[in-house]
Symmetry: C2
Subunit: 398 residues, 2 copies
């Protein structure tokens, strides 16, 4: 039970407490925790001796805090929970609460490397049917390893950043042309934020997932399907993705999702030993996609074929090192139903089946369109934990 | 004419002056310039007021210096040239020369994003013939845009770093197996180091190449062909590359390569407007590949189909921003002859035609093998400019 006005019963209550970086008034950017409709200034709390975190909270990114590791992550969370629930701290802590509406939310961490997986069987199957009709929807490797690739870390932006429509080459029957993308799409994903690094040559066992991963963000991996389709052979997506990837301003700690772990789908054929994770657990995150304010899809993360622990084990099986701030995303989250897909490519079946959004017809994104991704997860005692939203509005090509 | 003993006539003479980061004695890592068999301590020179560079030279990476931009890059180079050629400076400067053999050379810059292109027509053609016999060797997009993808920035390592053989999945007739790579290869490439960043949504014109790119490194993009072949559909190379990418310890400024720019090969069909660069110039860099001390190939960079200016224009045409420390590599450099290829995949034609190296038979890399890439370029007045070498030795899988 928190003493913060309006926070009790909120999906941003004391069971949640996501971390972000914010600016308020004339102060330097600093780490904060969201509670209800407020941000607790953790830099101020650390400076006042209310929280101990090795000076990591007065920084303009979460990276120093992320590097501390799980025992410290848990200790800080416990202490913040105490501060926000025990009335004895109210006098000291209340002045450190900033109204959320007045805070400018910044990119919460410096992204080291960004990897994007492709781990929804339904999404991969849909894409296969749309692009390779009549052939097996999944490629031969898909059930043996979590397919993934590196994206552009430097263009990961915080929720709310306008998205300029990208320009690039696309194929036409008359040959390639260059111009603004005409098939601009979203990908609703969940991203995992690495805190504790490793040494080059080492691997991370799936069982050690929670020792390295601090928490999760929502991700919109904006995708220009026409640019992607022309460029991607044989080395994969490049400019069709690299113009922008939006992440939520709030990083939800794994500790807040303890009640959201659920058995992941069975895997057949059996996976290689390094990919066996016990418990084989996914996360019951319930995503929602809003297109110009209208909810068009509800992707269920629990249906993902590959788990985040398997993705981490795969990412490092070759000895690739992790750095603090590494971000790896799940790939588009799509469930088995049309109302559960995480991309408009799937929602409109390659553009062949337009949808009505707010009274207008849509296949792909028009200039001025806004897409907002949200998600909730089950918390303890019947509570709900909300992930930070990720939103973006399309600006015309320059 | 330099007063530094032994440097006159060297390929590391005053026409070269590449930048790196080194550690010597008990001093902190700092920026230095190579001259002959010495390193000029530029942090010391700046501290003594001999060079002005906004405090950028006392850092453990080149990034602050890279961010200064071309006017400052040129001014510092001119000043360093004065210091090393005018006898009047000898008394002050000579104590700042560290014997190269005593210096520990570090990764010269913090890599922001790492992009790898695929811009040799001969290499792409060879790979096409090896992997898709009987089909057109180049895919339809290849002559319309410089195909590229993002690699792992966090595993870019400096020359001399041991390379642990990666483990991963590969396909066999009995199904996929997981184990140490059995087709470990190299890719001899040239990398371009970005200094001046851009804003998200902006493009860089090909003509502005030298405003953003500071200089070049040699790159060995180690590649596990068996891992790559199994994983790469449909999203491109991932673990087959991400275990390590080696770069030279020395970054050669574009200013040192002014005499190496040569007309690039004609491009047919004509390229999109944003890819037209005038002058359409490549670089006459003459690479050499040494396998266990034996020179097995001499890849000519001047044969590359796409130029570095075109690569930069393509990388940003979609509005993707640049950061200081971005590295983009050319892709494997292969000329038209078997003795000019930049990978062992090509040298041994997919492993079908083993070669003799130092009396032993080789297809791919064995544990203990060492590969060293070197390169030279024409300098002014008949001189030669050497690029920093990049070397690595294979360690057994862990």
């Amino acid at each position: 039970m928190t003493w913060v006005t309006g926070a009790e019963g909120s999906a941003y209550g004391v069971r949640n407490l996501p971390y972000g970086v914010f600016r308020w008034g004339g102060d330097d950017p600093r780490v904060g925790v969201r509670i209800g409709d407020h941000v607790l200034d953790l830099a101020g709390a650390e400076a006042a001796g209310l929280v101990l975190a090795a000076g990591a909270l007065g920084r303009p990114s979460l990276n120093a805090f992320l590097a501390l590791g799980r025992p410290q992550w848990t200790a800080v969370r416990q202490r913040v929970t105490e501060l926000l629930t025990d009335e004895v701290h109210r006098v000291a802590v209340e002045p450190l609460l900033v109204p959320l509406a007045e805070a400018e939310l910044l990119l919460p961490f410096e992204v080291a490397d960004y990897v994007d997986f492709y781990s929804s069987e339904h999404h991969a199957g849909n894409v296969g049917q749309i692009f390779r009709p009549g052939q097996p929807p999944l490629l031969p490797n898909w059930k043996h390893l979590p397919v993934g690739y590196h994206g552009r870390a430097g263009t990961v932006v915080v929720s709310g950043t306008p998205i300029v429509r990208p320009t690039g080459q696309r194929a036409t029957p008359q040959g390639p042309v260059c111009g603004p993308s005409v098939r601009l799409d979203i990908e609703a994903e969940v991203g995992f934020v690495v805190g504790v690094p490793t040494t080059l040559g080492d691997r991370v066992a799936a069982a050690d997932f929670a020792d390295h991963v601090f928490g999760v963000v929502l991700v919109n991996d904006w995708s220009a399907r026409d640019i992607q389709a022309w460029e991607y052979q044989p080395l994969g997506p490049f400019l069709g993705k690299s113009f922008a990837t939006s992440v939520s301003a709030w990083v939800t700690p794994l500790d807040a999702l303890a009640d959201a772990f659920v058995p992941a789908p069975d895997q057949d054929p059996p996976v290689a030993e390094y990919l066996r994770d016990v418990p084989h657990a996914g996360l019951d995150l319930r995503l929602a996609v809003e297109w110009n304010g209208e909810r068009v899809s509800e992707p269920p993360f629990a249906t993902m074929y590959w788990t985040p622990a398997q993705q981490l084990a795969h990412l490092t099986v070759n000895g690739a090192s992790l750095r603090t701030g590494d971000l790896y995303a799940s790939g588009t989250v799509s469930g088995p139903e049309r109302g559960q897909v995480g991309s408009f490519l799937e929602l409109t079946w390659g553009g062949a089946e337009p949808v009505k959004v707010g009274g207008e017809t849509r296949t792909f994104l028009e200039d001025g369109d806004t897409v907002t991704l949200t998600a909730t997860a089950p918390g303890p005692d019947g509570t709900t934990v909300a992930l930070g939203e990720v939103t973006g509005t399309i600006r015309p090509a320059r």
